[in-house]
């Protein structure tokens, strides 16, 4: 390994120097030599490894050449993919009395982008890590939260009340700007009057837009996004990028552009020159959540991120889940669907014959499984890096204390989330666990993907540690492990024109009466609410089909 080479060479030289130093009797200068040598390999002590999607197994679909399945199983329904969409569909089947179904999952665990991990010190997210308060009209989602015990009830005036321990604890957000941490992510500290006024104007505009309705009576922006207005006045915003929109609106300040770029990269894995204005505005204007015991901007979060919701969803389909199962062919035949899959553990192929099938898979998979499927390259996926860092103690810099979300102004990364925020104990944790997010959008998605998959662990360590050193000098000495997850196809990217494109409209239509699609791809926005909505819809359509 690369890391060993770099460690071996200085070691021998260090020994030599030490020897020389001793001979010379220059005991005083020895510590300086050691320190100097240590600096050369100052990240060498940081452990960890690279994880990520099982790309190698996944790519077998492309290569083909699977043996004919020897074993056949018959069920009512099969769901391919156990991300939030797939698990939501399974829950819906369960609640409607359909228990004879099977879920196929390529990875070892269910959860997809909402997956999570755990080490000796904390659980941590591997991707999505929070859920904003749902809109009051989004009853299915509110019901889900109530079922999970996160929503505890409603007040007399119908406002939901949330479990206090599931709401993000204060202090929530801070931004490192002008060499200190300030409260909140909107740049304030050392920011000029003009920029502050632009922020004020922007947020006032968004507040207006939040409650605007189109000519069809629907909200201009809503969640699920399918419930947004089809009014051309709003849809045409999809034809320009967020940056052009801001310029059209006369915004000038660097800080506002940074902030909105940060927001877009956070939600979509791409910045304002790429993301459509419709998607960018949807981020701000679609959320209308309210609660009796939290303000509208509050979020629900857990140490394991949205893994908490996955754990809840998964309990309905624990016995139906087949992990390490790579579906490679879906063949609709009359009133049957044959799903062929490769069982990674045994290396054998198997077939499931079902009355109907839900494909809760991203487009680049869906289209390869179906006969004569065509992957439309309008579907672009943002590659991501998520890293979980374990450290002795975060060396703090000036200003506001450690928050749940910690962002650095003008950094390529989105900063880090404190996985231990939702702890009620007084004791400082034995080791701190931080989840670091980096959208890989500096190159084209394909190039970024290739670049990311080519990097060694030592490279990631250097990249991440160097970034954090700028705000937490000396953090390298505190770091123990950095585990890295590279998500080559992290999330669908709502680039300019995509949401209103024919491609997405076509992808939503299934050419087969018994094959249903469920994935946040089909919304164009990768958020929990959309995946949940898509999963529920597909399940309801499937139930309709098999019962008629």
């Amino acid at each position: 390994m690369n890391g060993e080479n770099t460690r071996n060479k200085p070691l021998t030289r260090k020994d030599f120097l030490r020897y020389m130093a001793l001979i010379a009797g220059a005991g005083v200068t020895l510590p300086q030599f050691v320190a100097c040598e240590a600096k050369k390999d100052q990240y060498g002590h940081i452990q960890g490894r690279i994880y990520g999607a099982s790309a190698a197994v996944g790519h077998k679909i492309r290569e083909g050449g699977f043996a004919a399945p020897m074993h056949t199983e018959t069920v009512d329904a099969v769901i391919i993919g156990s991300g939030v969409a797939g698990l939501s569909a399974a829950r819906m089947l369960h609640h409607n009395g359909c228990h004879n179904y099977k879920i196929l999952e390529l990875e070892q665990h269910a959860g997809g982008n909402a997956g999570f991990g755990r080490n000796a010190f904390s659980a941590y997210p591997l991707g999505a890590h929070y859920l904003p308060l749902p809109n009051l009209e989004n009853q299915p989602l509110l019901d889900l939260l109530q079922e999970a015990g996160i929503l505890t009830g409603y007040t007399a005036d119908c406002l939901p009340m949330y479990n206090e321990t599931d709401l993000c604890y204060d202090p929530q957000e801070r931004l490192f700007i002008h060499n200190r941490w300030q409260e909140g992510l909107v740049p304030q500290f050392g920011v000029g009057e003009a920029a502050l006024a632009e922020f004020k104007r922007f947020f006032a505009d968004m507040e207006k837009l939040r409650w605007q309705r189109g000519s069809d009576g629907l909200y201009a922006f809503d969640i699920p996004m399918a419930r947004s207005s089809r009014d051309a006045a709003y849809l045409q915003l999809d034809n320009l990028c967020m940056k052009d929109y801001l310029q059209q609106q006369g915004y000038r300040s660097e800080e506002l552009y940074w902030y909105l770029d940060y927001c877009c990269r956070d939600d979509f894995g791409a910045g304002i020159p790429v993301v459509s204005a419709w998607a960018g505005l949807h981020y701000f204007a679609s959320r209308k959540g309210k609660s009796a015991n939290a303000d509208s901007a509050a979020v629900l979060t857990w140490p394991q991120g949205n893994g908490r919701l996955v754990q809840h969803l998964q309990q309905f389909s624990n016995n139906n889940l087949q992990t390490n199962g790579l579906a490679y062919k879906v063949t609709p035949q009359g009133r049957e669907v044959q799903v062929d899959y490769f069982e990674v553990a045994t290396g054998t192929t198997k077939r499931i014959v079902a009355k109907a099938c839900i494909m809760a898979t991203p487009q680049f998979v869906t289209q390869r499984l179906l006969p004569a499927g065509q992957y439309d390259h309008q579907f672009v996926y943002s590659p991501w890096l998520v890293a979980n860092l374990t450290l002795d103690k975060l060396p703090e810099s000036r200003g506001y204390p450690l928050c749940w979300d910690n962002v650095m102004y003008n950094s390529r990364s989105l900063g880090y989330v404190n996985a231990q925020q939702q702890s009620i104990t007084q004791e400082a944790p034995e080791k701190q666990v931080l989840t670091y997010y980096l959208p890989l959008d500096h190159l084209s998605p394909a190039d970024s993907r290739r670049y990311a998959l080519g990097l060694s662990h030592a490279h990631w360590v250097k990249l991440i540690t160097d970034d954090l050193e700028t705000v937490h000098p000396g953090i390298h000495a505190q770091l123990r492990t950095i585990d890295v997850w590279v998500w080559g196809h992290g999330m669908i990217r709502p680039h300019t024109g995509f949401i209103t494109s024919d491609a997405i409209a076509a992808a939503r239509r299934s050419g087969y009466p018994n094959v249903f699609f469920a994935h946040s791809d089909l919304s164009g926005i990768s958020i929990f609410e959309e995946a949940f909505y898509q999963g529920n819809n597909a399940a309801l359509a499937l139930l309709d089909y098999i019962r008629t």
Binding site: E164, D170, E427
Partner: protein
């Protein structure tokens, strides 16, 4: 006329000077330490000086039994004085927390040092008696002795205590003693028996003392003394907090992370006001819960009620409860409440512990540090009080210490509003604690606070039933104001607290 002094004899006289300085320093260290740790400096100094001089007398008497190998014995003694004198203050600081009879250790060390120092001069005079005329000998030895004493008495208060601290001072002079031993040993090697063995021993002692000198900060942080008004007599960093105890003539103070927790002069006001109103209002008080309060003072007040059967004290920090149970001086302050068979100490995180607790308590005292940071702030949230409710009966009474309603009225009324938000009926009250200023509490109960159920124990110095209505009166500058309740997801209390105390301290 005094004859020219030969180098070797001069060395011996110089050692008289050093021995005298060291001897007096050990005495001063012991006296200072005793008045730090036990208070009442007049008594401490006078008994220490008396005991020390008396021990020197014993030493002088014992010197007659040394007949042969005087020089070797002298070196031997030097090393021993260096060792015992050198480690004395470190030992005293270390045993202070643990030893029930600290005084015994103190006087034992003083006695031992005194005897050894008392032996030194007579021995030296016996060594020198063949080298000088008696008249010269007496004159020289005592001259050096008294000059040494003067030097010690001047540098001790002016240089050593402020810059070195006690542990390093005694180590330093211990090392000096041993260095004298080594130098004498080397210069007189022809006359000294067992020279090798002695040198070996001396080096060992020097290494030990240098070690203590080096790690003195670990044993006791002197730099901290500047941050406190009075001399620091104990300090300890636990994983949770820094515990510091200071002592002045009349007063003993406990600080946690630099914040005053009590002053022994007026803590009875604080603790009587914390405990007795709730005891008076609760229909029963068989089972009592204390959250925080590891100093045992609240427990002391509760134990004044004979019908209390069980007290559960939940404090995060085992070093706090150990300190206030084991140190005789501190246990005197809490009337040995932490040793009471009725009391069970649980060292756990209060929030976590409440989640697992199954016992219902009649009265609960919530005596946490002020909500000055987000971690402690969580112990003042609706989530916490809702969790606490599961450990209470419908008629239980709780009291929450709630910072100063004068300095931080919003923070104070925020605690009230937070309890109210959880459905408790509340009664805010306050009292005057001179070392704190105006201090506030919120009493609360799930079903309402009605009537007095109990009479108060005899012997209270501050609280009385007819005083309580006055304590419930708030003047306009402390009056109730509209504030938000404190939730985990807004932590407004920490913000109120920081704003108000920040302004006050500017």
């Amino acid at each position: 006329m005094i004859k020219m002094v030969r180098p070797l004899e001069f060395l011996l006289l110089l050692s008289v000077f050093i021995i005298a300085t060291c001897g007096l320093i050990y005495e001063l260290v012991a006296g200072t330490l005793a008045s730090y740790l036990l208070g009442d400096s007049i008594t401490q100094f006078s008994t220490i000086i008396g005991a020390y001089l008396f021990s020197m007398g014993i030493g002088a008497y014992l010197s007659r039994f040394f007949r042969r190998e005087l020089l070797s014995w002298f070196i031997q003694l030097e090393i021993l004085v260096g060792l015992i004198g050198g480690i004395s203050s470190a030992v005293l600081f270390l045993v202070f927390e643990h030893a029930a009879s600290f005084r015994l250790v103190l006087y034992l060390l003083v006695g031992l040092t005194g005897i050894l120092v008392g032996l030194e001069l007579p021995l030296l005079m016996n060594i020198l008696k063949n080298r000088y005329a008696f008249r010269d000998l007496v004159s020289r030895v005592f001259t050096f002795d008294y000059i040494g004493a003067l030097l010690a008495s001047i540098v001790f208060p002016l240089l050593l205590v402020p810059y070195f601290g006690l542990i390093r001072t005694s180590c330093f002079f211990g090392i000096l003693n041993v260095v004298v031993a080594i130098v004498v040993c080397v210069k007189f090697r022809e006359e000294v028996k067992w020279a090798r063995y002695l040198q070996f021993k001396a080096v060992g002692v020097i290494v030990l003392l240098t070690g203590i000198f080096w790690w003195a900060d670990k044993i006791m942080t002197f730099s901290e003394s500047e941050a406190f008004r009075d001399p620091v007599i104990f300090s300890h960093s636990s994983p949770y907090q820094r515990i510091v105890i200071t002592r002045s003539k009349l007063d003993l103070r406990l600080y946690l992370n630099g914040n005053l927790q009590f002053s022994s002069v007026d803590e009875y006001r604080y603790h009587e006001a914390l405990v007795h109103p709730a005891m008076m209002y609760s229909p029963e008080h068989t089972r009592v819960l204390i959250l925080g309060g590891g100093d045992g003072m609240a427990a002391r007040e509760i134990l004044k009620y004979p019908d209390v059967e069980i007290i559960t004290l939940v404090d995060l920090d085992p070093s706090m409860t150990r300190l206030f149970r084991q140190s005789s001086m501190l246990a005197e302050l809490n009337h040995h409440s932490l040793q009471s068979p009725k009391l069970q100490v649980i060292n756990a995180d209060a929030f976590q512990w409440l989640k697992t607790n199954k016992t219902l308590y009649d009265v609960a005292f919530v005596d946490f540090p002020d909500p000055g940071n987000y971690a402690v702030g969580k112990l003042y949230t609706t989530a916490f009080y809702r969790q606490l409710r599961h450990s209470l009966t419908d008629s239980s009474v709780i009291v929450v210490q709630s910072t100063s309603p004068f300095v931080a009225p919003k923070a104070f009324w925020c605690v009230d509003a937070t309890l109210h938000d959880c459905g408790y009926h509340t009664q805010a009250y306050h009292t005057y604690v001179p070392s704190f200023g105006e201090w506030g509490y919120v009493m609360a109960s799930p079903t309402g606070l009605v009537g007095h159920h109990h009479s108060l124990p005899a012997g209270l110095r501050y609280f009385a039933a007819d005083v309580f209505p006055q304590m419930c009166q708030f003047t306009a500058d402390m009056a109730k104001r509209p504030v938000l309740a404190n939730h985990l997801n807004n932590q407004v209390l920490v913000q109120y607290f920081e704003d108000e105390w920040g302004k006050y301290q500017e």
